[in-house]
């Protein structure tokens, strides 16, 4: 695999160089070159700031979602590795004001330990900050143990809705509660068809026979539900929708916001086909798909596959989900 880098040592910093050069609404923070922040910040004593730390290699998440109406900062770790606690602490210090901050933590062991430690050290230093643990992947722990699940692309519902609410001036307490409510109303399930190639060693991250797909694989290739036979997308989408609705039932007549995320190596042609099929699967159950987000947002290099995320929104959530934002990579969401 011919990957286009200068060197392993510089690949993450080279990427950030290009990112801040390409998108003037995002700049490097003062505390560390691995912290990227909004170029035009609001008064941090009045607006709650939102930030997230994550391993790199999954772009455009999360750097690409910094900007007005979304994230205030991203702390960038090495490839597929959570940033260290002290680096996340520097990120918190960079954007924290009297209004407080929420550190979004996509639930993976490294992110949980380092994010949690960063919040402890930040509180010790006098910062007002709360960690919001995000999980939505139904394949990673059984129903009833939702708190043990991994974060998956459905966590982007939380980013966007909290980002829009914070921009309007929602205070820390209600904002945090809104985040928990979005999390509780979101479910995601993924299917992978081909592996990503790790930029660290040039090797495929898993192997899969040509006639099989993998249900429920995590964003780092973590195990999920298991293998299934490859076939027309209609059957695959039907299986996923069925599993999502079994985990969190949605009644006929309800509306649901749908997110189709490509893992990096799946074309828009395929993703649009998957969305169309998802809408049909839901409609067959009397459920209306609205405000869709379809594209490639949380990637694992060139991994082939996708996830379907469903959010049952309150009217307030739906308004924030569709509110305008100005970031390098978050799309406009139309009510649909």
């Amino acid at each position: 695999m011919k990957k286009l880098f200068n060197s392993q040592e510089t690949m993450v910093d080279d990427m950030i160089d290009g990112f801040v050069a390409a998108f003037p609404q995002v700049v490097r923070g003062n505390n560390d070159p691995r912290i990227v922040v909004r170029a035009k910040s609001k008064n941090r004593d009045e607006k709650v700031t939102l930030l997230i730390g994550n391993g790199s290699g999954h772009e455009p998440i999360a750097m690409g979602f910094i900007g007005e109406g979304l994230l205030d900062a991203n702390v960038v770790g090495d490839v597929f590795a959570a940033p260290s606690a002290d680096l996340i602490l520097d990120g918190i210090a960079e954007v924290n004001g009297a209004a407080g901050s929420i550190l979004l933590v996509s639930q993976h062991s490294g992110d949980v330990i380092n994010g949690g430690a960063a919040v402890m050290l930040a509180e010790e230093a006098g910062h007002r900050v709360k960690p919001l643990y995000m999980y939505d992947d139904i394949s990673s722990a059984p129903k009833g143990q939702e708190g043990e699940r991994r974060g998956a692309p459905g966590t982007m519902f939380i980013y966007k809705i909290l980002g829009a609410a914070a921009e309007e001036g929602t205070a820390l307490g209600p904002l945090y509660a809104l985040g928990e409510a979005v999390r509780d109303n979101t479910r995601t399930l993924a299917a992978a068809v081909s592996p990503g190639i790790s930029p660290l060693n040039g090797k495929a991250m898993f192997s899969l026979p040509d006639d099989e797909i993998y249900l429920g694989m995590g964003v780092h290739g973590e195990p999920g539900i298991g293998r299934a036979k490859y076939g027309p997308v209609s059957g695959l989408v039907e299986t996923i929708v069925e599993a999502l609705l079994e985990d969190r039932p949605i009644e006929a007549g309800d509306k649901v916001a749908v997110m189709i995320n490509g893992m990096g190596g799946t074309t828009l042609m395929e993703l649009l086909t998957i969305y169309g099929q998802t809408e049909k699967s839901l409609a067959a159950r009397g459920i209306k798909a609205i405000a869709p987000m379809v594209g490639t947002f949380v990637t694992t290099q060139e991994m082939g596959g996708f996830s379907i995320s469903l959010l049952t929104p309150t009217p307030e959530m739906l308004r924030y989900w569709c509110a305008p934002s100005d970031t390098p990579h978050f799309p406009a969401i139309n009510m649909g």
Partner: protein, 182 residues
């Protein structure tokens, strides 16, 4: 002793113990515990005053680097000068490690050496009593079965092997005692 002097002493200790710690870890884990600790300490000795434990966290990496960094953070605060007692510093580290690592007493982890040390301080002992208590706790990890981490998946969940993390805790406390720190 200054915090800087302490980190330099600790770096020398782990440089000589690295191989033994890696071997202990190879029996129940990745086999890199000594390497990870030394990598962190090599960065800590080069860091600015007051940021040495943080430099350790950044350079050592991974979950164990963060958890040991929290112990070193408390020792650094204590050596710089703090209103809290040494016991209170140790208790805060233990509380955080248990919460973040989701571990309890008896899970065959660093906590099994830290807690007896904290109890010894609580009972009015000094650093030498704390070191002795930590050593007993470390030795007790030999019979324990791991409930978390990679050790859970090895034969008998690692029972029969001393936990390398608990061993490192003893080295960390011993370095304080050797410097005559109370």
């Amino acid at each position: 002793m200054t915090a800087r002097g302490y980190f330099e002493r600790l770096q020398a200790v782990f440089a000589s113990e690295k191989t033994r710690l890696d071997e202990l870890d190879a029996a129940i884990g990745d086999g890199d515990h000594g390497t990870t600790m030394l990598r962190g300490l090599n960065a800590a000795v080069k860091a600015d005053d007051g940021r040495q434990a943080k430099a350790f966290m950044r350079a050592s990496g991974g979950a164990s680097g963060t958890l040991f960094g929290l112990v070193l953070h408390e020792i650094e605060l204590h050596l710089i000068g703090s209103d809290m007692t040494p016991g209170a510093h140790l208790d805060r580290a233990i509380e955080r490690i248990k919460a973040l690592g989701k571990v309890e007493t008896g899970d065959k982890t660093m906590v099994d050496a830290l807690e007896p040390a904290a109890r010894a301080l609580e009972a009015g002992g000094g650093i030498n009593e704390a070191v002795a208590a930590a050593a007993q706790g470390r030795d007790a990890t030999r019979a324990m079965a791991a409930r978390s981490g990679r050790a859970r998946y090895v034969e008998n969940a690692g029972a029969g092997h001393i936990d390398p993390g608990a061993t490192s805790v003893c080295l960390i406390l011993q370095a304080l005692a050797d410097a005559g720190e109370q």
